[in-house]
Symmetry: D2
Subunit: 340 residues, 4 copies
């Protein structure tokens, strides 16, 4: 097999490391490079725990060498902050690489939203206009070149749950509430007291109330003017569960049918009973589970994903697979659930 | 000091055991009896971990001896199932005891709701009509005799957060959504696989969607025709956090002011910033923390309690204190937070 | 490829389900059958979460059909209790199947040990004499037919850590202490209050002191008259860490060298620094990590495994691979760590 | 009642905060001051969660004001690092305060041990010679003035378990192994990635192998030349369980009898069955549970404490009570278990 060379910048964060491992074991990919300041010089396969690596001898290079390392590499994943991605992505595209960016730097079409939500002046509005928002089940395969904005973790859960229902007109577009709960890896590697085990174990709380940067991303992808979105921090490592509330325009059975039809034939979305939407069923995998409860007044749509897989690294590889003309599940279908 | 004799039926469940310990160390109470089939014959103080007990030698009697044990005991707590409470409470009242019932058996005024929500025919509608719903901060001190329906854990959190706002007219009564999350002790002592550590650790899910028996209790106490209420199971032992959504009729500052005024001088309700509403701040104590976030379209009211204390045993003792003419915090103010 | 047909009895326990999933995705195997009373009639691939199954339509049959289902199936895994395995294994062998038994029924050579340690009269002493004790790194590949006694979880961790050191004579055989800690899945699926989340979360304790049935298994495999073995229950789902103490006859460097040599070229044993021996590094995988600290008086040998993988299902498949003449890592190398 | 004024330096660490709360609610104490750089200017009672405080209006002062604040205060607790305590304690004693130091700065009699175990030159050897090592059950009440070295958390658990047995000669003094496991608060407030929730949840490992600074403290208090001590990090907030191994010189019943006699009449040590020695039974309280299993070859002595209470703040207050001529349980007996 001819393997495609793929590089990754920011390979030692949680999402980056999960992506790195999948790339190292991907049957159609050869990892071209991985950058990490923290682990510069270390063997990538050992750090990523890849026992059957396609590049067993490759070592991390410092982040500052990313552009140089990427020269001639046709696909590059950015598992970096929005600030860093904003700098790197346009340069990598200019160098000839297709880029899948896991940050929020290219997800919002309207550059004027960035100062408010990301405390960032966006100096690459042209990239915003052309970036492909990469939820394959809803927005199709990305173009083979250019820039993919890989969705946020909360938005992936919320949008997969609600977009088909809005498109089909079976829920009201106004007044949607999304009450979401995430495991702690969603915050990335942290060295703050607030994220220490002793502070978080046994605790639960909401954060960034009415100010979370994923709010406009969700509204944009759903095609609604606004949504209410609340994020909470769960005392678990991995997983997101979103509980979305909307006014129904059709009975529960119709909502379920719309969802089933929307995801028919797609390996990574499962429509189940609402009490089967759990973290345990999806953590470790690229799956999204969706379930619906409804009466005349309210529809409750639940969805769960692994924030590091379908919410980040897995979806990035799913996008990569489609860019390469492969089956979307390549290298992803075999990921097992972490729960026993 | 003259100590009042108080008994407890169902003393080995989680709520019952917490109540038992508080009663054993209560400065104005003497534990008269405690019933438990599981621990019948065992020393109560040892099981409850009470090192400075007012009845160091007292032993559990079987549940079947409850009525006999209660004869002549002026106050009895029932930490039993709704089925058992429904049988026992009227008989205990007839025997001359005042009863504080921790189950749902006497919380709903309308007996016709019991078959649907509790799968129970209610044969004591007269007791429903006279039972006092015991949230002291909102419904005043209970009468000194008769029957107190001690509120449910989720309702306590939700009602403390929303009732003052509805009474003041600063939020809309229609369309309220309460998304609540509870630790596992809320389900009581369990010997089902579904509640085993291996199934629950690392997991999170919703349950009893649109069918939880606390739904009509919340609506009744709030004085609204209906609410949307969703319960989720958190992988922690203790604590409830409720995130309530309502349409505001006034700015955030007005909502906060209403809450501050409603709870001024009450030791167990703290109005704080919304990100300070956490399990860690309240678990172990009889506290309820409440915080508000709001914009023009939505008000988010967060509240947290310990489901076993303010959500059950602590509130029962708070009601007892008021029935005895004591300060409501007697025996409760010294309970420390479990978090370090 | 010609796939070998393999069946599994007891497929819905934690170890059984992990084995089932690996078999369903194994490149050289076709799952012939899986038994489960709990899930009889359900689709096996869906329950096991196998998205790329070699038998997508296969359904669980009841346990009572195990013998019938196994007719003509050359390899059968037993993920059953010792009592059930003791009945089934000889009959399956008599029917012509090779058997890999995950229980303790055939691990102890001396049948007289069974009443004491397993409360079981052993009626198949001939099978004990011929059963192969299956730790491939220490006892070689199993014979292609017959009966494999797949080791216990604690023994796997302890024996991999100590056997090479004893064989090389670099530690004393007397006075060995093994202080081991296991996640809760080691107890299997449980519906007892003692294993409920509310009882175990935040707790830690030892159990079966000086009476754990893995004690004689460890001594036998190490070739010593006795060991002191203590089991503790960790509030985590998966993983075992064993801390073994022995008197050294050589410096630390020599012990490390012995271990490195013993496991050179083996994919599933990693010799690391003692502080790198952790659950996080191995849970989800078939790896065993081993590390050594020592001074003149004491050698401390640490090892960690996933109790459900290297401690049960993974090692069973590793044995199966070798019986089939395959690379020992087939179907196992791609299992990722659960930790982010 | 005349209340004794007591101050605390380092009041915002985990041990310091627990001590502060106990002091604020102590019936015979008035908190004189509390220092904290982190919370300087904040209300102490609110931070400590003390609802019935003896100094409701007191605010934290910066650590640099400790000496000044302590002038005229007869008792001062130091919940500071060994480095800081080494500086402060002699000066506070010189100023006329009795000092209870929770650090390791004055626990080892031999100053030459400090460079090796604490990377510290000890410049106050005279204080070492006179400091009272404060385990009241074993070393009696401290003198009413001077310096108390409050024991380490691991040493408290290990010494309470073993000292009476060694004193009675019923176990061998040589070859003792102590395998101990601690919750994460034992490491104090942390802002390192290694102590983040995502790194520690679900993990378990040993640390500082053969180099933990509590090793010589344990040996000294036990009166043996050396012990083997291993510390492990449990994924729980609070609690230590120590599993100690020694060669017995008497049967189990004799060992149990020795322990019962040693702790007869003491409220904080419970001799129980070995499987009842658990974190759940002691976390939140000042209790130590001890249990014994033994055969002819080995005695296993288990003990459990809350590292923040009997292992730190609680024992400090217990020492303080005795210095004040109070019952040792004053302000401590009412602390409830955190477990439901």
């Amino acid at each position: 097999v001819e393997r495609t060379r793929v590089g990754i910048v920011g390979a030692s964060g949680y999402s980056g490391l999960v992506a790195t491992r999948i790339l190292l074991e991907h049957p159609a990919v050869e990892l071209a490079f991985g950058t990490s300041d923290k682990w510069a010089g270390d063997a990538i396969s050992a750090r990523a725990g890849a026992l059957r690596s396609n590049r067993p001898d490759l070592r991390f290079v410092p982040n500052a060498q990313a552009l140089e390392a990427a020269r001639g590499v046709p696909y590059v994943l950015l598992a970096t902050s929005a600030e860093v991605s904003l700098e790197l992505a346009p340069r990598l595209v200019a160098q000839g690489s297709a880029v899948i960016d896991l940050s929020g730097a290219f997800r919002l079409r309207d550059p004027s939203l960035y100062p408010q939500w990301y405390r960032l002046e966006h100096h690459a509005p042209a990239s915003l206009a052309t970036a492909h928002y990469g939820i394959p089940e809803l927005f199709g395969p990305p173009p083979r070149t250019g820039l993919v904005a890989n969705p946020g973790c909360y938005p992936t859960a919320a949008i997969l749950a609600l977009a088909p229902l809005l498109r089909a007109g079976v829920i009201e577009p106004g007044g949607i509430v999304i009450d979401a709960k995430s495991g702690v890896t969603g915050a990335g590697r942290q060295s703050k007291e607030a994220y220490s085990f002793s502070e978080i174990a046994g605790d639960f709380r909401a954060y960034k109330l009415l100010g979370h940067q994923h709010t406009p991303e969700i509204a944009q992808a759903l095609g609604v003017p606004s949504v209410t979105f609340t994020a909470h921090l769960l005392p678990v490592r991995r997983g997101i569960l979103a509980t979305a509330y909307a006014r129904p325009r059709a009975p529960r059975s119709a909502l379920v049918e719309v969802l089933r039809a929307a995801y028919a034939g797609r390996p990574f979305v499962e429509i189940v009973e609402p009490e089967e939407v759990s973290l345990a069923a999806v953590v470790g995998t690229n799956l999204c589970r969706i379930g619906v409860a409804a009466n005349d007044e309210i529809a409750i749509v639940l969805s769960s994903i692994d924030n590091l897989v379908k919410g980040a690294a897995g979806q990035a590889i799913q996008n990569l697979n489609l860019m390469l003309g492969l089956d979307e599940g390549t290298g992803l279908l075999g990921l097992p659930r972490s729960a026993p």
